[in-house]
């Protein structure tokens, strides 16, 4: 049995071991990532699981980091948007968001990029309905979603081998 106390516990984030010290009880993973570990990729808006801007992978599963009790994630592999590609070398999903014009203010983008990677891992060639359903946990106030769906489809096509 693992025990984490708020005085000190260890998280595995983006392949690194990170110590968290003197945490307050009840801190969410989102809070710890941003305020204690300096990883600003995951965004906080609603802190109630509605907007998806805080989406990260925990043991390869897409979850809202605002709803993960940080200290309960000891021993799990956490991947944030900072961990999916080195700076300056975007993933195909990130590049497709840029190319398709799926980024306006960009606040929702890290969460949507994580959700899109997760979606395409599970469904290689999603229909538009599947994309809408799979991204229903990510809210974007700017784009109207059309270009986001376009970006997802571009990646699916490119991964299949380029042709239409």
């Amino acid at each position: 049995m693992t025990e984490a106390t708020t005085e000190m516990y260890v998280l595995h984030v983006n392949g690194e071991t990170r110590e968290v010290r003197d945490a307050a009880p009840g801190e969410s993973l989102l809070f710890v990532l941003r305020e204690r570990l300096g990883l600003m990729g995951a965004k906080g808006a609603c802190e109630q699981g509605e907007c998806g801007s805080c989406s990260v992978l925990v043991d390869e599963s897409l979850v809202c980091s605002c709803l993960v009790l940080a200290a309960s994630a000891v021993g799990r592999r956490i991947v944030t948007v900072e961990g999916i590609a080195p700076p300056g070398a975007p993933t195909d999903v990130q590049q497709a968001f840029v190319d398709a014009g799926a980024v306006q203010c960009g606040f929702c983008t890290p969460g949507l990029v994580m959700a899109t990677h997760s979606l395409l891992e599970r469904v290689a060639e999603p229909t538009e309905l599947e994309i809408r359903e799979e991204l229903s946990g990510n809210i974007c106030r700017c784009t109207g979603y059309g270009r986001i769906i376009d970006a997802v489809q571009r990646v699916a096509v490119a991964r299949r081998g380029g042709g239409a």
Partner: protein, 283 residues
């Protein structure tokens, strides 16, 4: 504050028995909302999302039952093999929140919260699920109808863990339908579960979000059981309408910020008729 992450049921039970006021944490999708909003303080936490026994399920083909561990997630339940064994529960699972919520949220957490709007609960009511608990006083099992005692109230005692639910694997159509203000990520304004037991000629209907607990509809169930032809998938339109009307009448909705009582009652009639038409396509 300490957070314990046991990996066996014995360790989880012992930890909770030793500290009955500790908070049990599964997927956190109900609990962490309260923590983030400062409506709930957590001091000592026992996280059950890595307890092997709670993460497991087992299908017994002899007794034709399925036992689902409390920490099984909605994203697991929404797919095969659950879709074939307990279609109403799998369909309900698919309507919970978003992919993010379904990856974390568990059936045990839905039972722990026991909201009348919990989407897992009408199917569990209609399936006449048995809820298994373990605690300092040993193990016990309760029918769902005795487990849920009120809005966000249940029979779980301090120090008890919900370990699993057992449901029958039945032959015959099932379904779950809900209405809300969006197509996804929405709390049910009303939800209806239909479960048929073709071998026994039985029909069960359960209503969510329209009463303090999940409501069964004995009158509507009796109408369908008497009039339906399971083999032919046939239910005459007048009987179907009478059953939907009886379900409407069984609802005990209230007005609140999500809906008026009148709309909820109307929705129950529409959803019941819809589920019956899907289950019995021929009239």
């Amino acid at each position: 504050m300490s957070v314990l992450v046991p990996t066996s049921l014995d360790a989880a039970r012992d930890a909770l028995s030793a500290n009955p006021s500790a908070t049990v944490l599964a997927g956190g999708t109900d609990l962490m909302v309260e923590v983030n909003e400062r409506r709930r303080e957590v001091v000592d936490v026992i996280a059950v999302d890595r307890v092997a026994e709670l993460r497991a399920w087992s299908h017994d083909p002899v007794s034709r039952t399925l036992t689902i561990g409390a920490a099984v997630t909605w994203s697991e339940i929404e797919d095969a093999p659950f879709l074939a064994w307990v279609p109403s529960l799998a369909q309900a699972a698919r309507t919970v929140g978003s992919p993010q919520i379904r990856h974390a949220g568990t059936i045990g957490g839905n039972l722990g919260t026991c909201s009348p709007a919990g989407d897992g609960l009408p199917p569990l009511s209609a399936l006449e699920a048995v809820v298994h608990l373990t605690g300092p006083g040993g193990e016990r099992s309760l029918p769902f109808a005795e487990f849920m005692t009120g809005p966000k109230r249940n029979a779980r005692a301090a120090g008890e863990l919900i370990t699993a639910v057992t449901v029958p694997v039945l032959r015959g159509p099932q379904g779950y339908a809900k209405v809300g203000v969006r197509n996804a990520m929405v709390i049910a304004t009303a939800g209806v579960a239909l479960v048929c037991d073709a071998d026994a000629g039985g029909v069960r209907l359960a209503l969510g979000s329209v009463g303090p607990v999940i409501l069964r509809c004995p009158e509507a169930e009796a109408i369908v059981a008497a009039e339906a032809d399971f083999a032919a998938g046939r239910l005459a339109e007048p009987a179907l309408r009478a059953a939907a009307e009886a379900a409407r009448a069984a609802a005990r909705p209230i007005d609140d910020h999500r809906s008026t009582a009148a709309y909820r009652r109307h929705a129950v009639g529409v959803l019941t008729a819809r589920l019956l038409r899907r289950a019995f396509p021929h009239d």
